[in-house]
Amino acid sequence: MDVFQVIGPVMIGPSSSHTAGAVRLGRLGRAILVGEPREAEFLLHGSFARTYRGHGTDRALVAGLLGFDVDDERVRRALDLARERGLKVSFEERDLGEVHPNSVLMVIKGEDRGVKVLGSSLGGAQVVVTRIDDFAVEITGQLPTLVAAYQDRPGVVAEVTALLADLGINIASMRVSREGRGRRALMIVETDEPVPREVIIGMRAWPVMERVITIDPV
């Protein structure tokens, strides 16, 4: 346990789970979309649904989506700033089923693509994204994260891990899932070092890859 876990984090109040955690979820949503969000619908579940106005969870989610950090004074004015920047947002209380009490489904639309991101705030500003579109994932935003959607076939995982090994990049965790045999698959790789941008661009050119993104720690 780190000294700055008990004297910190520096954050915009009032709640590490309902405000700081919500900013981080919004930031993850922005990173997963890639590009400037134009429209976002937030479906709030459980405690998020009951207390989001009083905790400023709505402003915090939008602030994160705008790319603000957890200690950015603009969090308080995020709803106004979103309007100024042409980002349309809406909030709805929704029972999302068997999920953590502080959960939100973010339906985000960008210029040319949309994404659905389900995330939970676990307390002490810790968060986890558990679903991207129809894929079960586990992204905490604590380490650089590589997300690749690709065609399920033998050898793809080995190619990716070999590439990272050649670069001297250490894998902290890895998760692979697929819609079905030979169909769309998703790989989530958390690394100790960030994967360089040119490597990502190179991977996008692999015929098997549908989409490759990196998520910086939030």
Binding site: M11, G13, T51, R76
Partner: protein, 297 residues
């Protein structure tokens, strides 16, 4: 200087480290952080000094009294307290009156979506700045002394955090404002020249005074009774520090108080653990306030 081991898990182990090295708890905690991160002492202290600056800015902001919380219920309390103190109307007076005002100021800034340092949590963020900044004004201490105090406080926070949850949702307010108060009491004692043992005694005395306190936020918001509990917590910490500094020991060591806190917390029903369904949150007035709030939106 002897090299400190950074494997301590309890307050008594931290005390043994400090006594073995003939250093303060603050110094032992600085070395703990160096061992954990590999950073040099200057970097570690600078990061803490930055947090002290955020605390000062939050206190100043809160005293202005120009913020309002999203619910519309919180803001301006610290300004009233400070005005009363300046007019000589405070009954507690001196450092305590100023500590109460500053703690409330920071807690109000938190409720109003301002920038604060969680210490150990956002809901209890006013207690440490209230105690440290009021003592600095009273004693004329340099910022370095306060940075040391924050490391002392961190030592207590870590020792408790390794043995218990610091979440109101898990163990009630005793684990948030209670622990913040224990951290502040230990910091005050060491800054004032007390021994590591006296500092941990002050933390134990402070925490004993909070045992059993439930987490009952009205409407689930970090507002009522949280903001005023921060003010009370600062005065409480100063009282505990005075007791320990005078040479009155805590008969029960801090680690055993922490164990008691965990047992008490676990026996609390969920209604009293941050669900907003028990304690003052269940009072008719609280329910009426929240109904009004929902209708307003």
């Amino acid at each position: 200087m002897t090299r400190c081991n950074c494997n301590w898990k309890t307050a008594s182990e931290l005390l043994a480290e400090a006594e073995k090295a003939c250093c303060s708890l603050a110094q032992a905690v600085v070395r703990y952080q160096i061992g954990l991160t590999g950073q040099d002492e200057g970097t570690v202290r600078r990061q803490m000094a930055e947090r002290l600056e955020v605390m000062k800015a939050a206190a100043a902001r809160g005293l202005k009294g120009d913020m309002v919380s999203p619910s519309g219920l919180i803001g301006g309390g610290a300004k009233l307290l400070e005005a009363a103190r300046r007019e000589g109307k405070s009954l507690s007076g001196g450092t305590t009156a100023r500590a109460i005002a500053l703690a409330m100021a920071v807690a109000e800034v938190n409720a109003c979506m301002g920038r604060i340092v969680a210490a150990p949590t956002a809901g209890s963020c006013g207690i440490l700045p209230g105690v440290l900044l009021s003592l600095q004004e009273e004693k004329g201490w340099r910022d370095d002394v306060l940075v040391d105090g924050l490391f002392t406080a961190a030592g207590v926070g870590i020792a408790v955090g390794k043995q218990a949850s610091l979440a109101g949702a898990a163990l009630g307010c005793q684990a948030e404002c209670g622990v913040a108060s224990a951290m502040a009491a230990a910091a005050a004692v060491e800054m004032a020249g007390g021994t590591p043992r006296q500092a941990l005694d002050a933390a134990a005395i402070a925490l004993k005074g909070w045992l059993g306190l439930v987490c009952d936020p009205v409407g689930g918001l970090v507002e009522i009774p949280c903001v005023k509990r921060n003010a009370i917590g600062a005065a409480h910490a100063l009282a505990a520090a005075d007791i320990a500094l005078a040479g009155v020991p805590s008969f029960i060591p801090l680690d055993e108080v922490v164990t008691a806190m965990v047992q008490v917390g676990r026996s609390m029903p969920p209604a009293l653990r941050e669900t907003g369904e028990g304690g003052v949150a269940a009072s008719p007035t609280a329910r009426a306030l929240m109904k009004g709030l929902l209708e307003r939106k």
